[in-house]
Amino acid sequence: MGKLIEELKQDIQYQHGMNACLNCGICTAVCPAAEVYDYSPREVMNICHQEDEEALIELLKSDKIWYCGQCFSCTPRCPRGNSAARVILALRRLSIRYGYFAESEKGRQQLFAKRVFGENLLKRGLTLLATNITPQNFPELGEFWEYYFEHMKEMREWWGVPMDLENSPGSHRIIPEKDMEELRAIYKATGALELMEAIEKGMEKKLGSKEEVEKYWQTWLETGDSRNYQLKKEKEEDK
């Protein structure tokens, strides 16, 4: 058995999410991702089941594992008690550890996840910040959201949910520094920092340099669409 498969099998998420799969399709039947992407949780389970190292690596390098929306619709109905969503969690972490995530378009988006969710948490103790929900990135929130965004402080006070209060419980508060230190210590001790670091490293390796990673990041910040960044290989093909 291959090394990656061994490692996958050690993952507690995998152990909890994967019993023998019957290939009955109950999961794919209700999967929202299967309705919009070329994706089927049953197939993902099947590839894991084959225990074929090459097929697994191909999966880890592909977009497929990133399509899942983590809604767990597949989970309550599986007649064998499997959870494809949980197996996906294990696969994604494996893909990140080995840098395979950077091979796929959807995988590379992990950089934003790290820099938004991950760094928000380390800086503020909150995974999402009010400033993240910009009208540019969330145009569908509509014109009144634009108004809110411009008047954030006043609007929140008007609603009775003032933000950024210090030393106080409440919405969007400033978490005391001593608590933040505890939080960072937990992130370090449990390996989350390492995982986040692997994302930066994997991107660097794929894009060629730290500068390129920043370019990729900027492209996303500016256009809201990472597809506007051209990979080296794609650039060469264009020429």
């Binding site: 991702a33 767990f72 992990q110 991950g118 929900i133 609007m155 609603w159 001790a189 809201g224």
Partner: protein, 347 residues
């Protein structure tokens, strides 16, 4: 349909949540939702007001409580181990600093995340040991598992509304008589741990019970259990959001086809509250299809019926779908001297 949305295996899907009239139901520790506080802060605002003022609950939260981190967990930047220790830290702070035994969260993903950790600790003493040890080493805090009615668990804020629904209905100024409504349950409330759901994951009762207490008529439609498509990485990055928009389109088309006269969708999940509403705007812009179905949170609805201001208290001024037609139908007054724009732009 023989039994309208009545769960036939009801007895299998109950959990006990103390009402404010019961012991243990007056003091609750609570956790904020990072999605709500950034994308729909008014929802938490109105929920807080109702729990404190109308139900008289002693709500306790510590400044040092952090996010549960589950968005990072399902968005793949943290690990299971991290989640366990963060959960344990938040529990420990609540118990040893605030003196609370039972906890709820405003976010369904936090609810699922905390439930997952508690269940893992119960199942696997090794994980529990690891968590207690790491917690002590990193923070010096002591491990503690929260309990609701003696059962190791946490609940969701909508569970508390459900438990106290008759008290709330008795206080309500307005009723939903003649209003057709349907629930949309957050996936992470229902689907990860169906055993921890009021009513089970197929025919959940948590919101239906609340709606019925307020007198609404409940409808059903084929895509009711379909996810709203929030999908963490899928809604977070605009380039993936066709997933979200398509899911909402599918759901609402099915609802419109089945019950064109359905007046509102009630949700208990931050993601659904925001995206079921917002994507209606996208669909209108991209396809020119208008659904105009108001989507609201259980707390917003309760607030409306208790007589709170629809805009200042319940925050309907930041939504995409106009709420006024529904207010008129229920009979809730609002300042008609102002234009819709003015109502939504107070400054």
């Amino acid at each position: 349909m023989k039994v309208a949305r009545q769960n036939i295996h009801w007895e299998n899907h109950q959990k006990h949540i103390p009402t404010v009239e019961e012991e243990g139901g007056r003091v609750w520790g609570c956790f904020r939702s990072c999605f709500l506080q950034s994308a729909a802060p008014y929802t938490e605002g109105i929920a807080y007001k109702i729990l404190k003022n109308d139900l008289g609950i002693d709500l306790r939260e510590a400044p040092g409580h952090t996010s549960c981190g589950a968005i990072g967990y399902h968005g793949d930047v943290t690990k299971l181990e991290t989640q366990m220790v963060i959960a344990a830290r938040n529990f420990s702070v609540a118990h040893y600093e605030l003196g609370v035994d039972n906890l709820f969260s405003f976010c369904v993903t936090s609810f699922a995340n905390y439930t997952e950790m508690i269940q893992l600790w119960q199942e696997d003493p090794q994980l529990r040991e690891y968590t207690a040890k790491t917690l002590k080493e990193t923070t010096g805090r002591d491990f503690w598992i929260p309990q609701v009615c003696g059962y190791p668990s946490v609940v969701h804020a909508s569970d508390i509304f459900y438990a106290n629904r008759h008290i709330l209905a008795a206080k309500a100024k307005y009723s939903l008589k003649g209003i057709k409504a349907v629930d949309h349950i957050g996936c992470h409330y229902a689907k990860i741990f169906p055993g921890e759901v009021v009513g089970g994951c197929e025919f959940p009762r948590v919101l239906v019970g609340l709606l019925e207490a307020f007198g609404a008529e409940i409808v059903d439609y084929p895509e009711r259990r379909h996810c709203c498509g929030m999908g963490f990485r899928n809604c977070a990055f605009p380039e993936n959001r066709d997933y979200t928009a398509s899911s909402v389109y599918k759901k609402l088309s099915s609802l419109k086809e089945t019950h064109p006269d359905c007046d509102l969708i009630l949700t208990n999940c931050p993601g659904c509250t925001v995206f079921l509403d917002a994507e209606q705007g996208t669909i209108k812009e991209v396809l020119g299809v208008e659904f105009n179905i108001p989507v609201m949170d259980y707390a917003q609805l309760t607030g409306l019926l208790l007589g709170y201001d629809p805009f200042k208290d319940c925050g309907f001024n930041a939504k995409v779908v106009p709420i006024e037609p529904l207010l008129d139908k229920i009979g809730i007054p609002y300042d008609k001297s102002k234009t819709p724009e003015e109502r939504r732009r107070p400054f």
